[in-house]
Symmetry: C2
Subunit: 167 residues, 2 copies
């Protein structure tokens, strides 16, 4: 399925906005390169999360490590890169989870969720405009912490983790 | 927490784009009025979902009923209105679920998730640019259908439903 017409109405740094003509109606759509989110569990059975200022929320949120795909990058390579940059964790056993539309009403962004186990600690290399405080939550405590989660992808990832562990 | 400066760089129909100055860096943010999503279960223990063309995905997706807040509308009123308009279902017992940032990296949109039980069938009143095919899935079958779900809010809602039912 394709639109009859598409025109770019905003050409941004992280995303563009296009207006597409679909038959009788126009749709305003944010174009994003796509992203990854990682549910990583270390060798001590703790999930690796990060707390950072999120300007859209105007406060700090506790989230899974995540980031945008770079040109030519596979989702798995992106996930390993983002986990390492944001948290320092690396290695481990990886499997792919769901590929989700984050906001299918008006954003063209697919998010690839990955699960990693037995990841090893290392040095984080966050970018200048990212300050991320690491938090590791024992898998056994995740169910009790769900009510704190305000980020959709993080809630999805933790609920799937609990389900896969029969918790 | 507030930005030092904010300027609107795109003034759209459903959303705007602003660039905010936070200390040393700029953030490009999509401004959205906020939204609701509803996990509604009818008197026969079936979850009410809709399948519709999502132009950002360029295909049909199976999703929870959902929609954007109108000016002055409370999230609960919006949720009841959207459920009725999109699916015809009404009435029932309602409770609030999580309030989630859908995409906190670049979209200022909070989504209010609601759970409704014992909803009653009625006539849908979809808008001209919305064509939604109703699907009702028995709660007992939801776990087996999770792999089909490609929409983040729908996966969150169904996982929370399963959890609340001990499934």
């Amino acid at each position: 399925m394709r639109p009859d017409e598409s025109r770019t109405v905003y050409d941004g740094k992280l995303f563009d906005v296009v207006v597409e003509r679909w038959g009788e109606h126009d749709r305003e759509i944010v174009e994003h390169p796509g992203s990854v989110a990682i549910v990583a569990v270390d060798r001590d059975e703790r999930v690796v999360l990060g707390r950072q200022l999120r300007e859209p929320a105007r406060r700090e949120l506790l989230e899974l490590p995540a980031g945008a795909l770079e040109a030519g990058e596979t989702p798995l390579a992106c996930a390993k890169r983002e986990l390492k940059e944001e948290t320092g964790f690396r290695g481990g056993d990886w499997r792919g989870g769901p590929v989700l539309w984050t906001t299918p009403g008006f954003v063209r962004e697919q998010m690839h969720v990955f699960f990693a186990t037995d990841v090893d600690e290392g040095e984080a290399q966050t970018e200048a405009d990212e300050e991320i405080a690491l938090e590791r939550i024992p898998v056994a405590d995740v169910a009790d912490r769900l009510a704190e989660i305000e980020d959709a992808k993080t809630l999805v990832g933790l609920l799937l983790l609990l389900r896969s562990r029969g918790r």
